[in-house]
């Protein structure tokens, strides 16, 4: 594809910006950031020498909703992310090349940018039957994934599929769809969960890596802290109704029209880590709760297997039955209560009988 590695400067020039304007931009940036007199030339130098980060974007078992989300990014615009910020060398869904021509790019990138490219994975590999449930370029996807992961700088696991497994990994998971971090162990993996992830979160992660040349700070579960350290609930605009104790009881009741909290009809906001309530969707227009529907927790592990999206207490399947904690607990407590009552009754009867016997014995 590209003969030599492209720098940011060459991209800037290609877009018709003169060298004079480029230096003006560097000077202005240094001044507005309050940096010293040498900063302008250092910024210019960085942009002239720093190569654009090559990105290989692969698709395993997925629905392409991550790509669909990504191309709708508004800040930054996806065109800027794809055409200026990164060097998207391979994306079999949207690239012009096809067949052997496309596959050759993988080998080329691997050889030329060893340890420098980012592997962005949408979807996950199914491991059952030797990976036969996802064939990509005549080979099981898992082989392609492992091959490209070997020389990657880092891996971005796009979406719930690559991060957790998502719907194809829901029970009973016939294809044994497996999240990326369970297949690749020796590379840094950034999980960007969501079904799909928010467009601006996706481009935000890409922007961070290209700007700072390092991975963003991750939380305990491998998600970027800047987008996934708080729950939907923590920044929800309906939170005051939750604290006040004002809940929607049924769809289309008076409370729903007043915009009360959706907790009682199963909103998973209190257990879902994502940026929906702050960044929102479609350029900040809305997000599920704002549209009157509870959060379904799509960026959480195994969200398909937690029972109804409309129940607060989720199902427990560990016991071979589908019941929620209250149903199980009440049955258990009821059983214990009945046992206690029965035991007390037997004790009382025995004691009376014993007393009578003792009385009989002593007389």
């Amino acid at each position: 594809m590209s003969a030599a590695t492209e720098t940011f400067y060459s991209v800037i020039r290609r877009q018709g910006i003169t060298r004079r304007s480029f230096h003006k931009f560097c000077g202005l940036t240094a001044t507005s950031l309050g940096l010293g007199p040498l900063a302008a030339s250092r910024i210019a130098n960085a942009l002239e020498t720093k190569p654009r980060v090559p990105v290989i974007w692969m698709h395993g078992l997925e629905c392409t909703c991550c790509s669909e989300s990504f191309i709708r990014s508004a800040h930054p615009l996806v065109k800027d992310a794809v055409l200026s910020m990164i060097s998207l060398d391979y994306d079999d869904t949207i690239m012009a090349a096809a067949g052997h021509q496309a596959e050759a790019i993988l080998e080329e990138t691997r050889a030329k940018h060893k340890g420098q490219y980012i592997l962005a994975v949408e979807g996950n590999p199914p491991l059952n039957e030797g990976g036969m449930f996802c064939i990509d370029g005549g080979k099981p996807f898992v082989e392609k994934l492992k091959m490209m992961a070997e020389d990657a700088m880092a891996i971005i696991a796009w979406g719930a599929c690559a991060s957790w497994g998502c719907v194809q990994a829901a029970k009973p998971n016939p294809t044994q769809a497996t999240p990326i971090d369970k297949v690749i162990a020796n590379k840094p993996i950034i999980k960007v969960p969501g079904c799909p992830p928010i467009a601006e979160v996706m481009t935000g992660v890409v922007t961070f890596i290209t700007t700072f040349g390092k991975l963003p700070e991750l939380d305990r579960q491998g998600r970027p802290k800047m987008f996934y350290s708080q729950r939907i609930h923590d920044k929800c605009y309906r939170r005051p109704h939750f604290d006040a104790g004002q809940f929607v009881e049924e769809w289309d009741d008076e409370a729903a029209r007043k915009g009360y909290c959706l907790y009682k009809i199963g909103c998973k906001g209190p257990t879902t880590y994502n940026a929906c309530s702050t960044v929102r969707w479609n350029g900040g227009v809305s997000f599920p709760i704002q549209s009157g529907h509870g959060c379904i927790g799509c960026s959480e592990d195994g969200f398909w297997d937690k029972g109804s999206f409309y129940d607060r207490l989720t199902n427990i399947k560990q016991f071979g039955i589908e019941n929620n904690a209250d149903q199980i607990g009440m049955v258990a407590a009821g059983a214990v209560g009945a046992a206690v009552a029965a035991h007390a009754a037997v004790t009382a009867v025995k004691r009376l009988a014993g007393k009578r016997e003792d009385a009989h014995h002593t007389s």
Binding site: K306, A325, G329, V336
Partner: protein
């Protein structure tokens, strides 16, 4: 070790003790042993009260009350319920910790609910005896100064383990609101490595509540029953600290 008061099941009642007993309230024949030291008793009642508050408020957090009228800014029902839950949870955690510390300083009864001598044959034999007693297969209960081995097992699982589980999962859930940089998250965030989806932690915390409900029922029933049946004080012992043997 097991503090079994020597009292063979078939022994003749000690007539002199009974005679003395009739003479006055604290007769010579009514031996009393100091079992539960003051910190143990204080911890017991504070924990009991906290657990009741936690159960009620916890249930109401999972299944909130009907909506209140008026502006959101004028109401704080859920807020107060959650505050009570968190406050009681922290009180329980502090007194649970204090109780553990007391196990190192207090008398040997204070240590019993924190471990089981599972390696001793004697222990299992006496557990079996207690099970037979509760199954109405034994005519006479054995007498213990502290907990009987079955009660000890129940206390260890039903109280020590369950409450520890509730404290750990509780603080982990609290850390979600307190934030990723909070000490709660640093100390208890590992819970989310066990259950990556916090919905599962909620579910287990909720099940733990029901397990404690079952424990509380058994605990109170056993205490009342033993107080009557095994001729030794149980309930008043947790107030006075003394165990009296009525025979």
């Amino acid at each position: 070790m097991m503090d079994v008061v020597a009292r063979p099941a078939e022994a003749e009642p000690d007539l002199s003790a009974i005679a003395a007993d009739a003479a006055g309230e604290h007769g010579v024949g009514r031996p009393a042993v100091y079992v539960y030291e003051a910190p143990v008793r204080i911890c017991h009642w504070v924990n009991a009260f906290s657990i009741i508050v936690l159960m009620v408020t916890g249930y109401l957090i999972a299944t909130p009350l009907p909506s209140v009228e008026g502006e959101a800014s004028a109401n704080f029902v859920m807020g107060y319920i959650r505050f009570a839950h968190f406050a009681a949870g922290q009180v329980l955690a502090v007194f649970f910790l204090a109780r553990i510390l007391w196990a190192f300083v207090g008398n040997h009864h204070s240590r019993k609910i924190f471990y089981l001598p599972v390696h001793r044959k004697h222990f299992w034999k006496e557990v079996l005896h207690e099970i037979r007693w509760y199954a109405f297969l034994e005519r006479e209960p054995k007498m213990y100064v502290g907990h009987n081995p079955l009660a000890r097992t129940a206390m260890f699982t039903g109280f020590t383990l369950f409450v520890a589980f509730m404290i750990v999962t509780g603080f982990a859930l609290y850390s979600e609101g307190a934030g990723i940089d909070s000490w709660q998250h640093k100390l208890f965030g590992w819970v989310f490595a066990v259950w990556p989806n916090s919905q599962d932690v909620h579910t287990w915390h909720h099940l733990g509540m029901w397990a404690l409900v079952a424990f509380v029922m058994v605990h109170i029933y056993a205490a009342v029953r033993e107080d009557i049946m095994s001729r030794q004080s149980i309930i008043s012992s947790m107030i006075s600290g003394e165990r009296q043997f009525r025979d």
